[in-house]
């Protein structure tokens, strides 16, 4: 048997380790060259790792959640019966191979006692693949709970709404035992016509979730940012009445090929104009080297909620775009991030970040700085509120709080205030955003 030991290749510039997110193959599978075998998570992006040879998988090292140094032997492939790869097909030995010898052994030693990942339970054919691993318990909204007629009838007699009962059977089917457990735990809906009680049930379920992948990355970054950066928060009220009129006007007259404008492109444009006066807020602070790198260009990170978690796609050189270009780029990046198609490059390199919870509501936020940046701007909810005008009359104004955090080691309170006041000036007098 000729065995090929496949090592975790270099998955990106400067990446020395990666976290296993999901194996796409299992022991016994036949693999082909270039077939994706593994998803790993690096600093920001999830990367597919392709196979290098043809053969049959004999051993897999590492479980999802394990962080593995580049160069670790992760896959043993029996290549007898498959043509051996030609010399040029073999990936060059990854850089970490020699230097991380001890790490490699460590990883091996850790993985050795754990048996290779068992074959899928039950007997799903290869074609079903990974889709049917565990019995899903969660029900989609509106789905009828899966239960036999006898269970359904007993639930009715006991005033139990089966939709609230967790099912432990296959495909989340609710068994008699599940119903008994639910009732025993006090999960009975006793409020019926003429009855008593609140009609509420105790929720007794506990779910343990392994924090891996992007979530772990976010957790690590947050701890680092919050424990190493002394944040200073600054909040100002911005009168958006004029900007909102302009925005409505522009959207009403926009061409079909132009994107709809939200507030963010205007805020981005205002930041791009204000930042040159406060360059230390558009910078990276390398604490180890003791160097602050101030950027002329504005690479604007925009925190985006995606199905896979929080991501920060970046508009590169936002200062060179008008509001429509900003809106279009913003839309494109947000879509790519949500679809999981954003490249590593698109998810890195920001010099200042905007985070917006405005659509949900909230008066003020104290955003956490996106390392190694020195400033972050948070958008809050806009609402129409009464204010005095110059003549002392109460008038309706469209007002929004702009929250911001700065690295107080680099940005003084005064400087932070100047930046935000400048931004306020642009946003409250939107014509100035369009002046040369």
């Amino acid at each position: 048997m000729s065995e090929y030991r496949y090592k975790l290749p270099d998955v990106g510039e400067g990446v020395v380790e990666a976290e296993i997110v999901e194996w796409r193959i299992k022991v016994g599978d036949t693999v082909e060259e270039d077939q994706p075998i593994l998803d790993v998570m690096t600093d920001k992006a999830t990367v597919e790792v392709p196979c290098a040879v043809n053969g049959v998988v004999t051993k897999i090292v590492g479980e999802p959640g394990d962080v593995i140094p580049v160069g670790t032997e992760i896959l043993f492939i029996d290549t007898s019966g498959a043509p051996a790869p030609s010399a040029e097909d073999v990936p060059p030995p990854p850089a970490g191979e020699v230097s991380s010898e001890s790490e490699t052994e460590g990883a091996d030693a850790k993985a050795e006692p754990s048996p290779p990942r068992p074959a899928e339970p039950a007997t799903p054919p290869a074609s079903e693949g990974r889709k049917n691993k565990a019995a899903p318990v969660a029900r989609a909204e509106g789905d009828k709970p899966l239960a036999s007629p006898a269970v359904r009838q007993r639930a009715r007699e006991n005033d139990v709404d089966l939709g609230t009962v967790p099912g432990t059977g296959p495909a989340g089917r609710i068994t008699h035992q599940d119903l008994d457990d639910f009732i025993a735990s006090g999960g009975r809906l006793s409020a019926r016509a003429g009855g008593s009680g609140s009609g509420r049930s105790k929720r007794t379920g506990v779910e343990e979730q392994k924090i891996i992948g992007l979530r772990r990355k976010i957790a690590e970054n947050m701890v680092k940012a919050k424990t190493t950066i002394p944040h200073i928060a600054y909040v100002e009220e911005i009168d958006l009445t004029a900007l909102e009129d302009l925005r409505a006007h522009l959207n009403a007259r926009k061409r079909d090929d132009q994107p709809k404008l939200t507030l963010i492109p205007f805020l981005a444009a205002a930041l791009c104009r204000a930042l040159p006066d406060t360059p230390q807020a558009n910078a990276h602070y390398d604490t180890e080297a003791g160097v602050l790198t101030k950027y002329e260009g504005v690479h604007l990170g925009v925190a985006t909620a995606t199905p896979n978690g929080l991501m920060v796609p970046t508009i590169k050189h936002a200062e060179a775009m008008d509001v429509w270009e900003l809106a279009a780029e913003l839309g494109r990046l947000a879509r790519a991030a949500r679809d999981g198609k954003a490249t590593k490059d698109e998810l890195s390199g920001s010099t200042i970040t905007i985070t917006s919870l405005g659509a949900i509501g909230g008066l003020v936020t104290t955003p956490v700085i996106n390392l190694p940046e020195t400033a972050i701007i948070g958008v809050n909810k806009m609402q129409e509120l009464p204010r005095f005008d110059a003549g002392g009359r109460v008038v309706p104004k469209k007002l929004m709080n702009l929250s911001s955090s700065f690295d107080h080691r680099i940005v003084d309170g005064y400087e932070a205030a100047v930046l935000i006041q400048n931004v306020k000036g642009y946003l409250e007098n939107p014509a100035t955003l369009f002046m040369p």
Binding site: P124, K131, P149, E157
Partner: protein
Amino acid sequence: MSDLTCDVLVVGGGPGGYPAAIRAGQLGLDTIIVDKDGWGGTCLNRGCIPSKAFIHAADKFADMVHHAESGKLGISLSAKPKLDMKGLVAWKDEIVGKLTGGVEQLLKAAKVKAISGWAEFEDAKTCTVTLEDGSTQKITAKNVILATGSVEVELPFLKFGGKVIGSTGALDLEKLPEKLVVVGGGYIGLELGIAYRKLGSEVTFVEALDRILPVYDKELTRPITRWLKEHDVTVHTSCKAKGVVEEGGKTFLEFETVKGGTERLEADNILVSVGRKPNMSGWGLEKMGIPNDGKFLKVNERCETGMRGVYALGDLTGEPLLAHRATAQGERVAEIIAGHRTVFDPVAIAAVCFTEPEIVGVGLTPDEAKDKGETVITGKFPLAANGRYLSMEGGADGGFIRITARESDHVILGIHAVGKHVSELSGEFALAMEMGARLEDIAGTVHVHPTLTEGFAEAALAALGHPIHISAPKK
């Protein structure tokens, strides 16, 4: 006669009404049931049961003709069998009589007062029954169960009478029609038309839509289309019947062709089977103050109408118009009136066409499931690969069993089959749906050899990608 009062008044003694009355009686409720046209309703008297008797006799006759002609299975007859329509109808009537008599006994045993007569409501809780002797009886009830069923749809230009018959008339013909034209390619027309073909009639269908049995997908109806073709039954699809023409002592059905031309078909009888409609008139519904839901009565899952204490069930309350649905509703309604906490809430209701071959369906077809946004996998097992099927002379008719399941969790969404005797599989199919079975549950149940039910397990295995008795589908 002195006025009667009761806890429960059931109007209609069909497969919805009489089980409701029996169950109410079992539960100790003072119950009265009223019907004019014989216990058992359409189902027992002029529907499900007599038509199945008819179909069985037709099968037997056709089989004997076959033996006489070909000596198949090594069994031959020295002469062709002879058909005595009067004898057939009498035998069928005997079965009907046995069953309707049985219902009357069951009602009595459950202490239900059964009154033969025509009920007409004055208000939601009071009705007057005109008895067979012409006298009247007033009844006031605390609870009323409406179970008046449905009636055949009559076409205004093809009124029943003379040679134009409905499904009821088709079960009582004294003479076998040499030429039978069936208007309507739904399941009732097909069941009866096929039976008449087996008895020796020359049968032609005229259907307004572009195919027969449009509620089923083409894969399911193909074996039936094939049988019709093999037995020289012409089906004129996308053709509209226009009326009857009498000429030279002969009767013709006139119909409009796809292209707009007019053609005619000679007929000894014209069977009009274009559907059924709820029986909503002639019994005082309009005086009860009950809201409608389109052409049906509106009820909730407790079968409650908009009027307090008035329940409705069966064909009055909407699709599917099936006896077993009405029966299940009837039992639930009686229990609800008795204070039980229950509802009529099935996962699915199976339907059967006793055509040649038979069709049974429960739940969603693959197309219906996709329309509901499901991603599905299907497994199909041809009955030609089932030993029992072959031993019953099946196998050449294209019969199969098909399972549709959700791809993500393998929960079964629908089960369909076409083939000889597959109607008897409907119970397991419905049970699988009600129990929330996954493909693995069916595949993991040991099915008896040699029976058709093995084909059900094989269909589940096929959906899982590893059937035993056919080669695994390539994916």
